[in-house]
Amino acid sequence: MQEEPEQFTFDFLTETAEIVRGSNDELKIKLGEFAGPLDLLLYLIRQEQANIFDIPIAKITDEYLKYVRLMKRLDIAIAADFIVMAAQLIEIKSKMLLPRDPSVEEDEEIEDPRQELVDRLLEYEKYKSAAEMLYEKTTVEQAVFPRGKIESDEHNAEISATVFDLITIFQKIVARQKDEIQMEIHREEISLADMIKSLRKRIFDAGELSVLDFFEEMHNRRELVTAFIAVLEIVRTESVKLVQKSTFGDIVLRKVEAKA
């Protein structure tokens, strides 16, 4: 990289890109669509209608850098991986420009500086196609529906949420509370027994209660911990179950209807 020729260093901010078509937003969406630097490269190669085994590296590198610069201008967070690829392209480009070593025999195999990149692109493209295949499969699958709930599902439905889910939600709230600068209000410490009592009343009055809402009512971490334990305890001891409507969705405490 050190012998990198002067003309291949770019100022990302000053160079203008000519590829701007339509509104910025449109382009933003388009640029955001690239799943990574290899994806972008494949797109550029196809746009140039270039042969992947004989990539016009100077042209493609220029185009690539234009895109990256544009992404920067449009405030699109550029993954470090895009920059790494830019550096690699520049390196390949400079290697291609180096005069041939005269000591090397004419017929001797000289490794093409592009070879490694070509291999990676070909490998990547397979998985890109596989991703498209998966997309089609899941689209078809979304047109098929399983049966609705039947009575016997209920007997089995203990809890659909895992500890991981609950802990995730709990952690989220603790983190949020930590950020909030709160007036230190001295209030009577609420005991676990009282917390369970009020929680029970609310669930049984309303039929169900959002765990998230309940946690958010707490004024400090100590109360939050008490509230958390109260939830666990009430699920364990009372005819209350935890229901989660979707993975990582809100968890609801629900009164279990007595079966006749």
Binding site: G36, D39, R120, A130, E132, K137, T138, V144, F145, S152
Partner: protein, 192 residues
Amino acid sequence: MSETATEIKETSPEKVARSTGELVALVEALIFVSDEPITVRTLVEIIDDDRESIEAAVEALREEYDGRESGLQIREIAGGWQIATRTELHETVRKFLKTRPSAKLSLASLETLAVIAYKQPVTVPEILEIRGVQSASAIKTLLEKRLIVTKGHKETVGRPMQYGTSKEFLIQFGLKDLSELPSIEDFEDLVN
């Protein structure tokens, strides 16, 4: 199947000979009540008949569903059998359930999932190698959606966690098993 059934094979004395019709009815009822795809093995265990007869009953049931102008289908998925609505009816069904097609996975997540599906068990650095871009947030999404699971540590420097696809993956992508995925080499031909 009926050949073996008529044989001596009287190991369990309570076992009563069942007609094919009865077996088909039992198989249908069990596939229906099961809240996830039910395996032939479980069917054999519960109905307590020989595997061949059960398999024939499943097949007969499937043909029956295909034969009548039905709103439902019997299908093999994630290693088991399931009853589900027919694809053609999705518009009306969706209208009733008021669901929209669930949030599509991002391109990054789909690519990551493709790499995991084909390379499993695979580590984060290996995925990076193929995709050329960090995949942490995609992996997190896939874990949250339970499409992938951890598959233990790889015995290499740093003992990175390995990932593989889950049963949920098979269900959501309508696959019987992983072997139903086209080979990755098939995509190579497609590309060039």
